[in-house]
């Protein structure tokens, strides 16, 4: 399921990223396919998604978050 639709508070594994620009940007932050992230929050009306990777918290715009496929990681 894409990141913008995922439930809040769950640990997620990035399975694929469809946009090359997003892939590149995230890889610079150390987030590659397979990285475990946590979704912390979602702003309403297609607003940004807040995630945490390691100690780093960041918000992604809706368009970008929609291009990141994730699955729930137990």
């Amino acid at each position: 399921m894409n990141l913008s639709k995922q439930v809040i508070g769950k640990r997620l594994k990035i399975t694929s990223i469809t946009n090359e620009e997003v892939t590149t940007r995230l890889s610079e932050l150390g987030m590659f396919e397979g990285a475990i992230i946590k979704k912390l929050n979602q702003a309403p009306f297609s607003g940004p998604t807040l995630i945490q990777y390691n100690e780093f918290k960041l918000a992604l715009r809706f368009d970008e978050a929609s291009q990141i496929s994730t699955e729930i990681y137990e």
């Binding site: 892939t23 890889s27 929050n41 702003a43 009306f45 607003g47 390691n54 918290k57």
Partner: protein
């Protein structure tokens, strides 16, 4: 002996705090030439070594996605830094992320040192950093410090005094030895070709290297400290309560800027008024005395009066930034503001515009994206500022009957409609600018979300001080100059102006107590400013104004609220009237110099209201826009689009209603 030290680092790593600690009050803020990105430099001494300290904007990495990042990269690639020290500021809490940019900067081949901030937080979180091992791995000096606790600053001074040799890290991220030798030109090329595959490969290799460097140098013992930030965010970012809280915070700030500031502003008003009186009495009567009292001192009063609002606004702005709440505001408001080309951070300046556009435009400095900052600057003066209120109320009293509609007073509804009009136009104008202004950068899509922190009031203090100082020193000069010019145009005139005293004193039909008023009336009708009013009469005629109103409109360039006072002088009434209802009766009596009908009927009144709603009749705003954009072009565009809009709206209103 001189040495240049350049601070480089990610956002929110404490660069500003370190900058304040090192340079104290010796700071200069400005803009990079031609762009709305702020630049900071400071100076201080360590023993006999004079240090020039440059604070570059915080960036994510050396592959620019914003103008800030491009500026930093350009600075590093073009500036002569052969004798300089690049002091890289990292965060102990998020060292992995910091080291990405660090390794890129180090590979550019400067004398580099690593200063890791947030020592205090790291201790709390159970993060142990072995600086000696890390220094060995990274082939450069590494120190730990805390800008908040003011610890480790001595170590930073020692670092700055040293001559640190340039040593390259062993990992080659390029395709050949040659490229690696010239990493500067490699990265330049990489950004021109935008080879994403190569960038990704570099990212993978760098992250592998970072893992290796950190492995034997950093240990994290799982601490049981709860994550306060996450709990607070549940509330502050709540899809409903988050907005309620945000609205409350904005309301409080608005009230404060508006209300708390009114006390010191009254004192300043009174104090400057007395000072002007005193200088009038102390100096021998004549041109020089007038120039000093009514030109220079009045101009200075016009600058000083802004200080309370600016200081209070920047205090709150600093507070929001320091606590980390500002990023939450961006998170909440981003979607709405993005639609009209602005940014969550634009909300606070726009709200402040209800008080005054001057501090509001200055407050846009924290908006990193240059296009969003520019749009916010361009549209902020459309919001109804407090200087428009006297003009609005007097004209509304004249043209709107004192009746009520559905229990609401019509006059109040009209005033509300004017406020609403300002807000709606602001959003429309922003949307139009979003379509027009081109940038090669997509809007940022990654917003770092710092942890909540107890604010550091020293940092806030520097913020207030720097902004107030730069307003007084930069925009202040222009405001004083324009006030003097307008004063001169008002105090010289044609023959009738010069003989005003003679004419009135020899005219026995005027009773003595009205003589002074009569003199002022003749002077105001015959000054050079009036001559300009008469010259532009053909231009304002289609709006329904006569040349007398033209004088008022012209004099308002100094500041909108001058309109009422100027008109009263032109109409030969006492100057200091407080009661707006009484003033409006004087206005209502006036006849139009050309048509002979009432000067203020519904058509001309509405035309004036619209004109004042849209036109940029405020030289302080013009001066601040110029200062903040460093661009004559954008200053002119702002003036022309607003005045054009004002003219067209007033024209349509008058022509339809007359």
């Amino acid at each position: 002996m001189n040495k240049k030290v350049v601070l480089v680092g990610n956002q929110n790593v404490g660069k500003t705090s370190l900058f304040n600690l090192l340079s104290g009050a010796n700071q200069k803020t400005g803009n990079y030439p031609g762009v709305t990105v702020s630049k900071k430099s400071g100076s201080f001494k360590i023993d006999h070594l004079s240090i020039e300290l440059i604070d570059l904007p915080g960036i994510a990495n050396l592959n620019p996605t914003s103008l800030d990042e491009e500026l930093v990269l350009n600075y590093l690639l073009t500036e002569d830094l052969s004798d300089a020290l690049v002091l890289f500021v990292a965060s102990a809490i998020d060292l992995k992320n910091s080291l990405y940019l660090f390794s890129q900067v180090k590979d550019l081949g400067f004398s580099t040192a690593l200063a890791i901030n947030f020592e205090d937080q790291a201790v709390k979180k159970g993060i142990k950093i072995d600086t000696e091992k890390l220094s060995e791995n990274l082939k450069c000096p590494v120190i730990l410090f805390s800008a908040r606790k003011n610890s480790g600053i001595k170590k930073i001074h020692e670092l700055i005094k040293q001559d640190i040799p340039v040593k390259k890290l062993p990992v080659n991220y390029t395709k050949s030895e040659d490229q690696w030798e010239n990493y500067q030109s490699f990265i330049k090329e990489l950004n021109e070709t935008n080879d994403k595959k190569l960038k990704r490969q570099e990212a993978i290799l760098r992250h592998q290297a970072i893992e290796k460097w950190l492995k034997n140098a950093v240990t994290i013992s799982k601490s049981d400290a709860t994550d306060i930030t996450s709990s607070l965010d549940k509330l502050f970012l709540h899809p409903f309560f988050g907005y309620v809280i945000f609205a409350t915070i904005l309301l409080l700030i608005f009230q404060s800027v508006f209300w708390i500031a009114s006390f010191p502003m009254d004192w300043i008003d009174l104090g400057m008024g007395n000072l002007i009186e005193m200088s009038r009495e102390a100096l021998p009567k004549g041109m020089l005395s007038d120039l000093i009292s009514d030109g220079l001192l009045t101009g200075i009063a016009g600058v000083v009066i802004f200080i309370p609002q600016i200081a209070i606004l920047f205090f709150f702005f600093g507070l929001l930034e320091e606590t980390g709440y500002m990023s939450r505001a961006v998170f909440l408001m981003d979607k709405v503001m993005e639609k009209v080309g602005m940014n969550g951070k634009s909300v606070v300046p726009l709200i402040s515009s209800f008080a005054c556009a001057v501090p509001s435009i200055m407050a846009t400095r924290t908006i990193a994206n240059q296009k969003e900052r520019l749009i916010t600057i361009l549209v902020a003066p459309l919001i109804t500022c407090s200087a428009r209120i006297p003009v609005y109320t007097v004209i509304i009293y004249v043209i709107i009957p004192e009746e009520s509609f559905l229990g609401f007073g019509l006059q109040g509804l009209m005033l509300f409609a004017m406020y609403l009009l300002g807000v709606i136009t602001t959003f429309i104008a922003a949307w139009v600018f979003k379509k027009i202004i081109k940038t090669k950068y997509k809007k940022f899509f990654i917003i770092p979300m710092p942890d909540y922190l107890v604010p550091n009031f020293k940092n806030i203090g520097y913020n207030v001080w720097n902004n107030t100082k730069s307003f007084v020193l930069n925009a202040g000069k222009i405001i004083v100059a324009v006030t003097i010019i307008i004063f001169l145009l008002q105090s010289y005139g044609n023959q009738r102006y010069q003989q005003a005293e003679q004419i009135v004193l020899t005219d026995n039909s005027i009773p003595d107590e009205q003589k002074e008023r009569a003199i002022n009336k003749i002077k105001s009708e015959n000054s050079y400013l009036a001559a300009i009013g008469q010259t532009i009469e053909p231009v304002i005629r289609p709006l329904g104004y006569d040349w007398k109103m033209g004088i008022g409109v012209l004099a308002s360039i100094a500041a909108r609220e001058v309109f009422v006072g100027t008109m009263l002088v032109v109409y030969g009434s006492e100057e200091d009237l407080e009661d707006e209802k009484y003033i409006s009766q004087i206005f209502a009596k006036q006849t139009h110099a050309r048509t002979g009908k009432k000067a203020y009927n519904f058509a001309t009144g509405l035309s004036l209201l619209l004109f004042y709603a849209f036109s940029l009749q405020c030289m302080s705003t013009i001066a601040v826009t110029y200062k903040e954009t460093q661009s004559l072009k954008w200053t002119a565009i702002q003036f022309i689009y607003m005045t054009g809009l004002a003219y067209i709206a007033a024209l349509i209103a008058y022509q339809l209603l007359k």
